[in-house]
């Protein structure tokens, strides 16, 4: 059978444009984001979430199990709700106790499994899991909202919508571990399974199931207080997500998984290129884009945060979005190739506006782009081609790492930062080279500097020398040489900025990755960590049963998908 040719597409945006940190830090979720991909799959499979165990006491503590079948496999979320003193409730990775801890279990746990997990899972990093556990995580209550919701429900009413809008979740995760950590299954266990083979699908599934637990827990707690307690209504549930506090751990991931990052970005950029190739969109598609522009406007109004830098950017974004709304009328969109024209027009505005528009244009075209989700995983195995000549490697380096060779590493500002791993819970951190101890233990996230150093060596090496010979004399270049070879055919392989320079804003890296997860309403608490909300506006388990669709991009509270 002949393979169906891919749809026509425009030229992809250039990596020198896309892979700059300032633009990556302006990322928005798209329909290819991992939460969206998971929920589409659950919806297509008509997956039914089941509450198998509810051993939660009057005090709200105990254990519960939920399960769902995805891709022919049953997965169970095992949750332990435990008492936590207010003074111990911390978002830090270095915390040692939490309100809730959970695992995604492969299959249906026996009572013996539950007893074993109850002894280990609440200890998190200090406990040991087995390969039957796919994800290990924990969450803390939002004290303000959690208590308010229980009080309101116990009084027979719904919670204050303003407080819901401000906070947006009942619990927030502070770490979600996968891939072999602390004894859980390596990714290879699920990497070929339908439904979980894509990036972070197991983690996304665990968090979505956890969201259902939070709804049940507040209903249970309210019911203990009053026989007349209300339950959260469906719209309110949908508007509650799961919060998350994310720190620098995400930054090393981006540098250490370049082939994976290439595939994510390549999928998104291909989607945009396919959309931009459409000459005459249907009237319905134009109407949908106009509706999404309105929705994005409402979402931006709701996105209120404390961080002054992002607040100032969002103020500009809101202003530019209003400008865009003035220009982009139905009539304007009836010109040939309107989406390409719109992307071109957006170059007059800032990066936030450009990236919001790029994410928006992909949204109406599921039939055209959703197949790209299958291309977002990566085989990350690679080995050096030692027969390559030094001259060939130098050519590759000069071709693909020009951005790195332009950095002047004799300037101390270009090496202002250093990445390291703290001895405390092995938390990745960023230090100031001249002010903080530990630079001699620097993590190798300085890709531009490594590329520049290799370039110096190659320039002094006869071009016909094999890499086997170069590596014998210079094993310190082995990692970067392999990296340059591996990424030769992957344009979005590298963050094309100096990740140790003085102008680095690490939260840009976090937002990029979190947007691919599908998070929105980024709420930076410093330049090094951010809060976000996952699954806000997303279908609940009951919504999926009722056939609610996939239309929850940039949700607006109170609006029904």
């Amino acid at each position: 059978m002949q393979k169906k040719p891919p749809p026509p597409q425009c030229r992809l945006r250039a990596p020198d444009q896309v892979m700059r940190l300032a633009r990556m830090g302006a990322s928005f979720p798209t329909r290819l984001s991992f939460m969206r991909v998971l929920l589409r799959r659950l919806s297509i499979e008509d997956a039914q979430l089941r509450r198998d165990v509810w051993q939660i006491g009057e005090d709200g503590f105990g254990r519960a199990v939920y399960s769902v079948v995805l891709g022919g496999y049953r997965y169970s979320l095992v949750v332990f709700s435990t008492k936590l003193r207010d003074e111990d409730r911390s978002d830090r990775v270095i915390a040692t106790a939490w309100d809730a801890s959970f695992v995604l279990f492969d299959g249906t746990p026996t009572t013996a499994d539950l007893d074993r997990l109850e002894a280990e899972v609440p200890k998190q990093e200090a406990g040991r899991c087995r390969p039957t556990e796919l994800v290990l995580a924990r969450a803390n209550r939002s004290v303000r909202l959690f208590d308010h919701v229980i009080t309101a429900l116990a009084a027979g009413r719904q919670p204050d919508p303003d407080l819901l809008r401000q906070i947006g979740y009942l619990m927030r995760t502070t770490a979600v571990y996968g891939n072999g950590k602390f004894g859980i299954a390596d990714r290879s266990r699920i990497s070929d399974r339908p439904g979980l083979s894509g990036p972070f699908q197991a983690e996304m599934l665990a968090v979505w199931m956890m969201r259902e637990f939070t709804f049940d827990l507040v209903a249970h707690s309210a019911a203990q207080r009053s026989v007349n307690a209300a339950r959260l209504d469906r719209d309110t549930q949908r508007n509650l997500g799961i919060g998350n506090a994310t720190g620098l751990g995400m930054a090393p991931f981006l540098v250490n998984h370049p082939a994976l990052i290439h595939n994510w970005v390549h999928a998104r950029e291909t989607a945009l290129a396919r959309v931009c190739a459409l000459e005459h969109p249907t009237s319905a598609a134009i109407g949908r884009v106009l509706m999404l522009i309105e929705r994005a406007s409402a979402h931006l109004e709701e996105w209120q945060i404390g961080d002054s830098a992002l607040t100032a950017r969002n103020d500009v974004l809101r202003r530019e979005w209003r400008d865009l709304q003035q220009v982009v009328t139905r009539r304007w969109l009836e010109q040939p190739n309107p989406w390409a024209a719109l992307i071109q027009l957006s170059q007059h505005w800032g990066l936030d506006c450009q990236e919001l528009l790029a994410a928006l244009l992909i949204e109406p075209y599921g039939a055209l782009v959703d197949d790209l989700a299958a291309t977002m995983k990566a085989d990350e195995h690679s080995a050096i081609d030692a027969g390559m000549r030094a001259g060939q490697l130098q050519d590759l380096l000069e071709q693909n790492y020009k951005w790195a060779l332009e950095v002047d590493f004799s300037d101390p500002q270009s090496q202002h930062h250093f990445w390291y791993v703290s001895e405390t819970k092995l938390e990745p951190r960023l230090g100031l080279r001249t002010q903080e101890p530990g630079a001699e233990l620097e993590s190798p996230l300085d890709i531009a500097r490594q590329a520049a150093a290799l370039h110096g060596t190659l320039r002094a090496t006869p071009r016909k020398t094999t890499l086997a010979q170069v590596m014998a004399r210079h094993p310190e270049h082995r990692a970067i040489a392999l990296r340059i070879q591996t990424g030769a055919q992957m344009p979005y392989f590298e963050i094309r900025d100096n990740t140790i320079g003085a102008d680095l804003v690490p939260v840009d890296m976090l937002r990029f990755k979190l947007a691919f997860f599908g998070a929105s309403k980024f709420d930076p608490k410093s330049d090094r960590w951010t809060r976000i909300t996952m699954y806000q506006g997303a279908p609940t388990a009951q919504d999926l049963q009722d056939g609610f669709g996939d239309d929850w991009w940039l949700p607006v509270l109170g609006a029904r998908p």
């Binding site: 080995a383 791993v421 703290s422 903080e436 530990g438 094993p475």
Partner: protein, 210 residues
Amino acid sequence: MRRSINETEAATRKAAVGAGLPFGTAAELGKACAWLAGFNVDVLTEFLHALDAAATPDHLTAPEAQEGVIAFGHVNVAQHGCNLLDYFLSAPPTAAAQVAGVDSPNLLIGLAGHRAGVGGAAIALAFSNGFTAQVAKGTLRTNGKRPTAGVGVRLTRANRGDFDAASVASSETCTISAPNWTGVQRLAARTYVPESEESRRKGAGAGENS
């Protein structure tokens, strides 16, 4: 104790960095240990000895190639195992590599397994004590008594037929001795920066309790 394949890889990679090896070399050693862990082979005793021997960095003596055989002297596998394979795998497929002695023969099998797995090659290792190993992507076939430090080895390209009775990597965890794991963790800990108030103040979640 049992450790996941990923835990084995991460810990051994960090230990190799802690022992002073370059990041690229350390990464391949981690993959070699992980490759063997997929067959539930614990190579950490050799690995730790090899890291000890690598405490004094040196360069691999340029091999001599004569009549299709690349000849090496004694090789510290932690430092030079990757480079030994560089020379062997970049030579014509008919070439052999003859090594007078290796300090960590089983670690070398892991390195060869990792490289074969990625490059699609199949490699045969014939040790001077009579032990043989053939490695290819996800498969390992061995015969004879496991070699010990100092043994010589000859590397050649293997035939697919050599893998008829091969083991397939299927272990999800590796059984590791507690003292070896402690040794690996001790070396890995050399790469961690001690806590300081400044660094603690800037981490995720700092200053923000609900």
